[in-house]
C-alpha cells in the first residue's frame, strides 16, 4: 500500500529546505514555474567546470516541491547536465510507475507516495526542470 503523502519523510525533507546554504554570487541561475499550482523554483548553481559544485533552491511551493528541492540540493554536487537529466528521467519514470519500473537511487524512494497523485508529479520534477534550464539556458 502506498504510504501517506504527508508522512514524516517528505515533511522532514520539506522542513529541511531552510538549512541549505544560499549562494551569494551564483555561476548560473534559472527559474521554473508550474502554472497549474503556482509553484516557483529558482535554482542557483556554483559550478566546477561542467559539474555542479553546490545547488541552492529558492522555493515558493508545496510540501512535495520543497522536499524535492531539498533532496536535489543534497545529491547535486558532481552532477553534470547529462547525469542530471538521467536522474530526472529516472525519477519521472518512477513516479509514473511504468511496467519497466526503474530501479531508483535510494534517496528518491521517499517520493513513492507521490506516484498515486499524477497532479503532483510536476511538483517533484520542478527543481529538476529549473536546474536543467540553469545548465542549458540560464536566466540572463
Amino acid at each position: 500500500m502506498e504510504k501517506n503523502l504527508y508522512d514524516d519523510p517528505i515533511l522532514q525533507l520539506a522542513n529541511a529546505l531552510e538549512q541549505t546554504r544560499p549562494i551569494g554570487n551564483p555561476d548560473r541561475q534559472a527559474t521554473a514555474t508550474n502554472p497549474l499550482c503556482g509553484d516557483r523554483v529558482t535554482i542557483q548553481l556554483e559550478m566546477d567546470g561542467d559539474e555542479i559544485r553546490h545547488l541552492y533552491c529558492q522555493v515558493r511551493g508545496c510540501v512535495v516541491c520543497r522536499a524535492s528541492c531539498t533532496d536535489l540540493a543534497r545529491v547535486a554536487a558532481g552532477l553534470d547536465r547529462a547525469r542530471l537529466k538521467t536522474l530526472r528521467d529516472t525519477l519521472e519514470q518512477f513516479l509514473k510507475a511504468s511496467i519497466d519500473e526503474p530501479i531508483v537511487p535510494a534517496h528518491l524512494e521517499v517520493f513513492a507516495p507521490v506516484r498515486a497523485h499524477r497532479s503532483r508529479h510536476r511538483c517533484v520534477l520542478l527543481p529538476y526542470e529549473a536546474t536543467l534550464r540553469a545548465l542549458t539556458d540560464p536566466d540572463g
Binding site: N4, L5, Y6, L11, L36, C37, G38, D39, R40, R60, G61, C62, V63, V64, C65, H117, R120, C123
Partner: protein
Amino acid sequence: MRFDVDQVAGQFGILNRRVGDHPLHYLDNAATSQVPDCVLEAVASHDRTRRANVKRGVHRLSEEADEAYENARMEVAKYLGVGCADEVIFTGGATAGINLLAQSLGHDMRPGDEVLISQLEHHSNIIPWQMLRARTGITLRFAPVTHDGRLDLSEIEGCITRKTKLVALTHGSNVTGSITDASPIAALAHDRGARLMLDGAQTAPHGPLDLTSLGADYYVFSGHKVYGPSGIGIVWGRKELLEEMPAVFGGGEMIEDVGLERSTYAPPPHRFEAGTPPITQAVGLAAALEWLSSQDIEGLHLHLRGLTDQLIQGLEHIDRGQGRIRILGPNRGEQRLPLVSFSVQGMHPHDICQIMSDHHGVALRGGHHCAQPLHDLYGLDGTSRASLAAFNRQADIDAFLGGMEHCFRVLG
C-alpha cells in the same frame, strides 16, 4: 416546492460514491458542478431515441433532434428572462463565448479604441482581450478592485471614456465571491456609447436571471457549472447587436448560400454556430436549467447563505485570532456567492487540498483559480477554495472544518 436539501441531494447519484474510505464531500462547484440524475437521463434519452444531426435532414430523427435543440435554446432564453430565443447562441462554454465576442466585436475595433476589463477577472475574460489588443492595437484598461474583492464602483466611472467600445466584467468573482452591481455600470457604459458584456459563469448557477433589467448587452455562461454537461455554453446578445456582428467561424450550418468565390451567412444565432453544434449537450443544459428553475430558489439561496456563513465562521474559529487564515471577499454576512477562497500562512493550497481529499473526502480547489492578476494584487501565490451548490449539506461543512483542523495538525 419548499427547498429540501436532502431531497435535492438524493437526485445526485454521484454523491453516493466514496473517496477512498470517505464519503464524497464535493465543494468544487465553482470549477464544475455535478449533474442531477434527470440531466443524465435527458442526455441518454436524447442519444437513445433522437440522435441525429440538426438542420440538415428531413427524416424524422433529424426533425426531432432539431426540435430538441431549438427547444433547448428557448429554455435558455426563458432562464435568462429574455423574450427572444434567437438571442441565444450555443457555444462550447463561457470561454469559447468570450473568444467569439472578442473576435467578432474586435473586427470593427481600431487603434485607440478601448476595452475595459478588471483585475478581478478570470483568465478567460483577460486573455481574449489581450489577443485582440495584439491583433488590432486597441487599448486595454483595467478597473480596480477593492480590498474586499469587489469591483471598485467609485473608480469605474473614470475608466469608461468616449473611446470605450466594450466593458467586459465578471458578474460574480470565482475567487472573492463578490457579485457585481451591473445596472449602474451598464448605465455608465451606455451613456458613453459603450456596450457591456458580463461573464456570468459563476452567477448563472444560482438561479434564473433577468438580463433585461440587468442592462447587459452580452452575457456568457457555461453549462458544466449550471448542473449541466460540459462542452456547452451560451452567449446571449441583444438581437440588434448580434445582427451587426460578423461571423468568425465558417462552415456548415452558419450559411445562407455558398459559392466558390463568396458566400452569405445565416442570421443570428446560427451565423455563430458553425459546424455540427453540441446538440446532446444543449439538451442536457436545457434539462439542467429546467431542473434548477423548478427549485425553491429563495430557499436555496437561504440554505447556501447559511452554509457559507458557517464555513467562514468555522475558519475564523480555527484561526483563533492568529491572523494565519486570510479569507478573501466580502465580510461574513454580506452578500456574496456561495464560495470562499482563503489562504493559510505557511500552508500551500495544494497541500491543504491533498489532505482534504485523501483523508476527508473533501473536494476543494487550490491554486490561482485562473485569476493570477487578482492573486498578484493580493500578494498571494494561490488560495484554497470551497464552493457550494444546491446539494451541499451540513455534513459537507463539518467535513471541511474537520479537515482544516487536520491540516493544521499535520502542516503546522
